[in-house]
Amino acid sequence: MSVSLQRLTRSAVLTALALALSVAEGLAPLTILVPLPGLRLGLANLVTVYALCRLSGREALLILVARCLLGSLLGGNLMALAFSLTGGLLALAVMALLLRLPGLSLFGVSIAGAAAHNTGQILAAIVVLGTPAPMVYLPPLLFCSLVTGAVTGGVSTLLVHRVPFPGKV
């Protein structure tokens, strides 16, 4: 396979995977356990972490944007798109930065990513709704991101080690 075709294919597969993960997550929302708006495990973030580690920042960005756009087509609205894009982009930026630091593992990176995602969502909600009221949800969401970030961190460690070279079949 040519290089560009290979990239295209693996990006597409990862996008589909991210989409499937976020849909799957929606089927069993965490908010049933903890009634906190915006709370979720962030499984789609796994794909972002993986793409950042094993592919490139450019591809990770591409996958993220495609996932958000397609996700909103699948059953969201413009507001949903704004929320997920802002959260996702902020998480991507923070994780891309932290992955360059020497002392961290994927646990710390994922926790920071989850926290950044929540922060982005709340910021988007503040802008969209035109009120600072959603801010009250940020502190509890940040506390929760420690747990969700650690879980996705653990899973992404496994993922990155078990599937080290994407597309080299």
Partner: protein
């Protein structure tokens, strides 16, 4: 994903109500009319014009219905009592008289709009309150009989058959005004407003976020506290209680809700009655009527109808809430010794 965002939106808007920043200041006015303090709050944007229209409507009705205004239709009717004249009246006034008579028939002996001479004898009209002498009371009671109020709906006219009789619409006028103000506001496109006509609260539509209005019922024994809190949408909550206006004489307390059977303040075992109905006028009229009727008769009457709900506060500190309110109500006076029960059909 979608579900989460919907949830986030709902919850943020909900909590937005608690945060002052998210609750835009409504257009509001507070004014005296119908011998009480009224307030109107319109939450829709640009509600100022609608608010003024509603206020004017209420003030117009006050001019029609006030017994103390010598130019009102009621004064005209009263001034012709016993002289045989069929007094031509505004159609709204005739409707209101017919309605008031029908309430008297629904619960005989508990409601009468010709109670005015007795109210005068007690000084509740002039605010020089006192216990009337036996003679004064007997004389006044002889003038109470809404059967002697003839209403000719076709001709839009009415007549008081006995000289000295007087009609006072105090127990229904606020409810009628709420209905008219509601109509005016809706014509102006208002979907979210609150009227407080002297303690009769009318919820128009819902809050801007779609949730129900939270309306507290006053604790009759501690008026700075709430007895319970109700959720209302497009309904009026009207409360009658002896605590609203009263006086003390020789260590005895006399309140302003007079039993048309005895001529004395009603003593039916109730401290207050709150009627919740989408029929604003019915809510107003029934709160007074059922306060006089007492808890058992009030609940029996409730069981016979489908168009209102009740909160009764009894003298033995029980709060009886009818089942239609169960979902949206919460008790607030347990720490003050009240026990709460749900009445079922």
């Amino acid at each position: 994903m979608k579900r989460f965002f919907l949830l986030l939106c709902c919850l943020t808007v909900l909590t937005g109500c608690a945060a002052p920043a998210a609750n835009p200041e409504p257009a509001q006015a507070q004014f005296f009319s119908m011998d009480t303090l009224m307030s109107i709050r319109v939450y829709n944007e640009g509600g100022e014009d609608a608010l003024q229209a509603a206020r004017q409507e209420i003030e117009k009705l006050d001019k029609l219905l006030s017994r103390t205004d010598p130019d009102s239709q009621i004064s005209l009717l009263n001034s012709h009592a016993g002289d045989g004249t069929l007094v031509l009246l505004d159609a709204q006034v005739t409707d209101l008289l017919t309605f008031a008579k029908s309430v008297s028939q629904l619960l005989p002996g508990c409601f009468d709009i010709t109670i005015a001479p007795v109210m005068d004898a007690w000084g509740f009209t002039t605010e020089e309150r006192h216990v009337p002498t036996a003679e004064a009371l007997t004389a006044a009671m002889a003038l109470v009989d809404s059967g002697k109020l003839t209403v000719d709906e076709a001709a839009s006219a009415a007549r008081l058959e006995q000289a000295g009789m007087e009609v006072d619409l105090g127990a229904v006028a606020k409810g009628f005004a709420a209905g008219r103000a509601d109509a005016v506001l809706r014509e102006e496109g208002v979907t979210s407003a609150l009227l407080d006509l002297g303690g009769n609260v009318t919820a128009i539509g819902s809050k801007l976020d779609g949730s129900a209005w939270q309306v507290a019922v006053k604790d009759p024994q501690n008026t700075s506290e709430a007895l319970c809190v109700l959720s209302l949408k497009d309904q009026t909550a009207s409360t009658s209680g002896g605590y609203e206006r009263y006086f003390e004489e020789n260590g005895q307390i006399y309140h302003h809700i007079i039993d048309p059977e005895t001529g004395y303040p009603a003593d039916s075992g109730l401290l207050s009655v709150t009627v919740i109905s989408s029929d604003h006028m019915l809510a107003d009229a029934l709160s007074t009527t059922l306060f006089v009727a007492g808890p058992e008769e009030a609940l029996d009457f409730w069981r016979s109808r489908e168009d209102f709900e009740l909160v009764l506060c009894t003298q033995d500190n029980r709060v009886i809430v009818t089942e239609g309110l169960e979902a949206g109500y919460r008790p607030a006076g347990e720490d003050r010794g009240y026990t709460y029960e749900i009445a079922r059909r």
